[in-house]
């Protein structure tokens, strides 16, 4: 039983590694992952204070750099290095997840729908956890994150863990799934 669990753990780790390095396979994918990472970071940081962001951008769209700059410092001062690192890690993982999801969609492989359905909840859960304070604030629950355990940090860590689990489940998007819990057939291209 323990042997089976270890094998499954090793296979999950291999799948996660395959998913994480997949954007390195072409220049376009790497560039795309970079763009999505930066876009996600900008979106997450600006969403920490949506009312301010809306007013700032309504007055002058070029103030977006000012918004990102001051809100990055705001995130650091209110959540510390851990909180800021979680936003960065989430952005990087989203860059990878979106690149992999695009490949899954383009190849329309048999298990594609399942894998995308697997990644999406993780992306959304982690995203909501990362920008929760801003979204809750926009809904009128000012200070809501302050009453959550560790000011919501636990929620954000959980969201990122969830995203990693879903990435590991999907694995390398070029390979064919051989059923739920059965891992992937390495080297078998879907093309």
């Amino acid at each position: 039983m323990i042997g089976v669990d270890r094998r499954r753990l090793r296979r999950s780790a291999a799948d996660l590694r395959a998913a994480l390095v997949y954007p390195l396979t072409t220049d376009v994918r790497l560039f795309g992952a970079g763009l999505v990472t930066i876009g996600t970071y900008v979106l997450l940081v600006l969403s920490t204070y949506p009312q301010f962001t809306r007013q700032l951008l309504e007055r002058d769209v070029t103030d977006v750099t000012y918004g990102v700059s001051v809100l990055t410092r705001e995130v650091y001062l209110t959540r510390g290095w851990l909180g800021l690192a979680l936003v960065v890690v989430y952005s990087l993982l989203t860059g990878v997840a979106v690149t992999n999801a695009v490949t899954l969609l383009r190849h329309r492989r048999r298990s594609g729908a399942t894998s995308i359905a697997g990644i999406l909840p993780g992306v959304l859960a982690a995203g909501c956890a990362s920008c929760g304070a801003g979204v809750l604030g926009a809904l009128g629950f000012v200070g809501a994150m302050a009453v959550l355990p560790y000011d919501g940090t636990l929620l954000r860590v959980g969201g990122i863990a969830l995203l990693l689990v879903f990435l590991a489940r999907a694995g390398d998007p070029r390979t064919c799934s051989i059923g739920a819990g059965g891992g992937t057939d390495r080297g078998a291209s879907a093309e």
Binding site: V21, P23, L24, T25, T26, D27, L30, G34, T37, I38, Y41, Y49, Q51, F52, Q55, L56, R59, D63, Y66, V68, S69, V70, T72, R73, E74, V75, Y76, L77, T78, G80, W81, L84, V88, L92, G137, A138, G140, V142, G143, A146, D151, R174, S189, E191
Partner: protein, 245 residues
């Protein structure tokens, strides 16, 4: 699979470098301190009375500027709010020199405790300090208020507690720590009621965070609102627009 569809050393190095650069850029933005302009001292601070034309209760609240200034810039703050510290350091002095000293704008200082556990106790300290100094030396309130934000800017997490606020109160000239402590003990409940009213006024004005501002022309009844540490130009535009109505 085409030849290009493999992981190359060049791409791995590029990705590693870009990730490090991204992290370093974020770290730079996080640690870059804004320049501070803390030399400003307003000519007049007075105590408000009654409700304003917008229905915001000003009785007992500190107001920076001339009592008959045409425009009110209601300012809701929280001592635990880093964004408020940025506003205080970068923008408040410019508004003071250009509009408050010219007699065009007055700034009612209101509180909206919402950031952390010590937000409310910090707000009670504020109002107790104001109650002690408003009669004889209202400008001591300005010094105390600025000193607390200076401490916030130079401290890390968990800076706000009874000891820090007592220390600041003791340091600022013309503020009696024992009188303020006595006020916190005997007037705490009444002050919290007053603070709840400030927070309700902010919510009614559509403010969803701090620092929050409403710009209001008392003569023409025109108003606009701003939320967050906007650049000075945005305040200038908002004030000029309301003044022109």
């Amino acid at each position: 699979m085409d030849d290009e569809d493999t992981i190359t050393r060049r791409r791995a190095i590029l990705a590693g470098g870009a990730t490090l650069g991204f992290g370093a850029g974020v770290a730079y933005l996080a640690t870059r301190s804004p320049s501070t302009d803390s030399t400003y001292e307003p000519a007049t601070i007075h105590e408000g009375s009654g409700a304003s034309g917008l229905g915001i209760e000003l009785s007992g609240r500190p107001i920076v500027g001339e009592p008959d200034a045409q425009v009110d810039l209601y300012y809701w703050t929280d001592y635990l709010c880093p964004f408020c510290a940025r506003f205080e350091a970068n923008t408040l002095a410019k508004i003071g020199r250009n509009y408050v000293d010219a007699g065009q704008v007055r700034i009612p200082f209101l509180l909206y405790p919402n950031i952390g556990e010590y937000s409310m106790p910090a707000a009670v300290w504020d109002r107790c300090v104001w109650e002690q100094v408003r009669g004889d030396d209202p400008n001591a309130y300005w010094d105390w208020h600025g000193e607390v934000f200076d401490v916030q800017r130079s401290s890390g997490d968990g800076w706000a507690d009874d000891a820090t606020f007592a220390d600041v109160t003791e340091r600022v000239a013309d503020v009696s720590l024992s009188d303020v402590e006595s006020c916190r003990e005997t007037r705490g409940d009444a002050i919290r009621d007053q603070l709840d009213a400030d927070a309700s006024a902010a919510q009614s004005a559509g403010i969803r965070g701090t620092p929050g501002f409403v710009v209001y022309n008392r003569e023409t009844d025109q108003a606009g609102h701003l939320v967050g540490a906007h650049p000075y130009d945005n305040f200038e535009t908002a004030i000029d627009r309301v003044l022109a109505t």
